[in-house]
């Protein structure tokens, strides 16, 4: 048995994987129940009259409340199955579809950790069914099952760390400085954490953590300490900022870096030689997905201008906690010779407006919508110009979108948005 657990034999103890799967299932279940309990199914998904769809995913739409509530019901059942280890592949695949469907209904709802949950569900759906036998013992699993998740986590941390190598983060300590001001009334800590040097120190700490935690987790001698630091890091962030279940998902996922047998007290190995690995059919898909995961966050390099300003290639790239933006947006519509303003804050849900103000593709989406809503009498779409001002990481407010561009005539998709104005002050 010992021999089987060695790396040489490539089949290892499944306890770490099963434990992760169970914890992740619990977090997923909690997250879904919390979403439903807080009424977010209605407020975030069903109430909006307009949805900011992703390119090529306009067909993803909350067709009916029955469908969306049904999907949540399905996801809750799937989460239970994942926890119990019952039909985990099918459950993860179904949950992945439903979760991703719900997640991409509206760009305003985009969150990195939702994306991560979708990915983890995807990887889980690719894994073999690791189920216990009648003696409550599990079969050994191929070590690549651990490594696929480790690779995913490494991508998250390393890209998050690389994104932090910026003037704003390392020199200005932004946006942490801005956020930390909310602790001004906390005794002792408030006095310290509201100082610029503290924000800068915390920023550096965050960048170093993101960039180094994976090697430290991989190296056996530092693994335990690194895991302790990881727990402290994520719990501190959770305590300070409303970031939902994200820290817990990261901690749960990080357990996959621990010794394979860390949960062997509860999850015992099957005595026989039965062992499980990725099916040969699925292996090419895993490789393609992994390559995509490595390349996709780099797509911002194809665009000119700082990504934190333009946000071209920002989503799905692990650019976490990097920006604080606020501003105003209104549209100037030219219809039938009349010119008037449309104030989207009055037409959209607050969470949609908040996202819309600072994201160029959403500004363009809504301009398209307005151009069709206010058609000219000859049927042609109205001209729509955006008056958009953004305050970004403690810089002075400046115009974000060229006011001379009729957004209704601009090309949608992944094309460079040349109508985004350059940042006045890079620093």
């Amino acid at each position: 048995m010992m021999q089987m657990e060695t790396e040489e034999k490539r089949y290892v103890h499944p306890s770490g994987f099963v434990a992760f799967r169970t914890i992740f299932g619990c977090l997923l279940l909690f997250s879904l129940l919390r979403y439903a309990y807080n009424g977010w199914i209605d407020t975030q998904l069903l109430n909006p009259k307009f949805h900011f769809s992703y390119y090529y995913f306009q067909w993803v739409y909350p067709y009916s409340s029955t469908l969306i509530y049904g999907m949540f019901g399905v996801m809750i059942v799937c989460a239970f199955c994942i926890i119990l280890g019952y039909r985990t592949r099918f459950s993860a695949a179904l949950c992945c579809f439903c979760f991703t469907f719900v997640e991409i209904i509206d760009k305003s709802n985009y969150l990195n950790h939702y994306y991560l949950v979708s990915l983890l569900l995807f990887w889980l759906s690719c894994c073999p069914e690791v189920t216990k036998n009648t003696n409550k013992e599990y079969p050994a699993i191929h070590y690549s099952i651990y490594w696929i998740f480790r690779a995913q986590l490494a991508i998250v941390y390393i890209y998050a760390g690389l994104a932090k190598i910026s003037w704003d983060w390392l020199v200005k300590g932004e946006p942490l400085y801005t956020w930390l001001q909310s602790f001004i009334a906390v005794p002792v800590f408030g006095l310290v954490c509201t100082k610029p040097w503290f924000a800068i120190a915390m920023s550096w700490g965050g960048a170093v953590f993101d960039l180094s935690i994976v090697p430290f987790l991989l190296y056996p001698k530092t693994r335990t300490y690194a895991f302790g630091v990881l727990v402290f890091f994520h719990m501190t962030l959770w305590f300070m900022f409303p970031i939902g279940i994200f820290p817990f998902v990261m901690i749960a996922s990080a357990t996959l870096f621990l010794d394979y047998k860390w949960a062997s007290r509860y999850i015992t190995l099957h005595g026989s030689s039965t062992s499980l690995s990725f099916s040969k059919l699925i292996q090419p898909l895993l490789k393609v997905m992994l390559v995509l995961q490595i390349l996709f966050p780099l797509r911002h390099l194809l665009y000119s201008g700082p990504v934190n300003w333009t946000e071209e290639g920002f989503r799905f790239s692990w650019r976490v906690m990097l920006i604080e933006k606020t501003g105003t947006l209104e549209y100037e519509v030219h219809q039938n010779g009349n010119t008037f303003l449309v104030f989207p804050s009055r037409l959209l849900e607050p969470f949609q407006y908040k996202a819309l103000v600072t994201q160029a593709d959403m500004i363009q989406d809504y301009a398209y919508f307005l151009s069709k809503k206010y058609r000219n009498t000859d049927g042609s779409p109205a001209k729509v110009f955006a008056h958009s001002f953004i305050w970004f990481n403690r810089r002075k407010s400046q115009r974000f979108i060229s006011a001379d561009t009729d957004l209704a005539t601009t090309q949608r998709g992944f094309y460079p948005k040349k109508w985004i104005l350059p940042m006045d002050s890079p620093h």
């Binding site: 979403y35 807080n38 977010w40 407020t43 975030q44 305003s108 709802n109 969150l111 990195n112 950790h113 939702y114 801005t178 956020w179 001001q181 909310s182 001004i184 009334a185 906390v186 005794p187 002792v188 800590f189 408030g190 402290f232 719990m235 501190t236 305590f239 900022f241 409303p242 970031i243 939902g244 279940i245 994200f246 976490v320 906690m321 604080e324 933006k325 606020t326 501003g327 105003t328 209104e330 219809q335 039938n336 010779g337 009349n338 010119t339 008037f340 303003l341 104030f343 804050s345 009055r346 969470f351 908040k354 996202a355 008056h387 001002f389 953004i390 305050w391 403690r394 002075k396 407010s397």
Partner: protein
Amino acid sequence: MSVLVFLFACTAEDPRVDLMKSWGEKIFIPSYQSFVEKTQSLHASTIPFCADPNLSSLTDLQQAWWDARAPWKQMEILAFGPYKSFPERLGPKIDFWPIRKDTVDEILVGEQSLAPEVFDSFGVSSKGLPVVEYLLYSVLPADIQSERGCEYLIGSTYDLSQKAETIYNAWSPDGENYLGHLTEPALHEGDYQTIEDSLAEVVNRLSHTIENIRADKIQKGLGSEVGEVQVSLVESHFSHRSLQDIRNNLEGIHAVYFGADQGLGIDDYLLARGYNLDEDFTQRYERCMETINSLEQNGTLVDNMYVDSQGVLYLSDQLAALQTFIKGEIIGAMSLWLTFNDADGD
């Protein structure tokens, strides 16, 4: 972690609480108090007028209405809480506009009771400041002896004074203490969980108020979408108080920024944090006020919409500059948000 828990659990002197308290004590409560007094005075003036209707006392009544409107318009920045929330929803009960003239005219020619106490059950389009304005500036000047008009006036001003008192009590620490929701959110179950939330509400309202001026008070009247001026959609067009209403709105914003009656303002809070935005704010504010003054030289807002629509649009642009400044620099410098999605975030 336990150290962090301890530190976060403690509370200390919070300048944001001081600021909110100061706004409450020096601006919000006194303004509503003034509104109560002025609506009571307005109602009191209707009795002698109706006993002996004449132009001179009508002018006095119009002035009383004009005066009562000032503190109310200054406090339009407080269009939340008792103003908006059910069951009170006092904002529309006091100031529902544009007026539905047909509704009021139907009541005037009808036979239903206009006893003061029945107004409480009237819909929002049949009472409030705009209805009183219509009676004082349109109905009664056309027929000063109109008994039904006078009866309507007495009833509606009575109801108005009652509603003014209700909103004052809703805010007052001696009453329902909505102010407490803002100053000590943790002690009051309601809309806000932290002082940051309540402070963000007030400051964001400054920007919302300006957007409302631009969208509702200027653009709708200008009829930009339909290509012709829509007088009936202009606020206070019977009394020609439209520009003064906007001025009062801006005065409310100014008071919150600089404080009032030696009280604290956003300026004090920002100065303590190392920001001085006073000059930039004042510059933008003054440009708005100067534009209003300049428009007034041409006549009323409606007059300007006909003869100088570019001037009116210029006012909208100046207001936009002030709005952008509040929404950007001021809210930014005050660190008043965490733009994490309400449904979690990162």
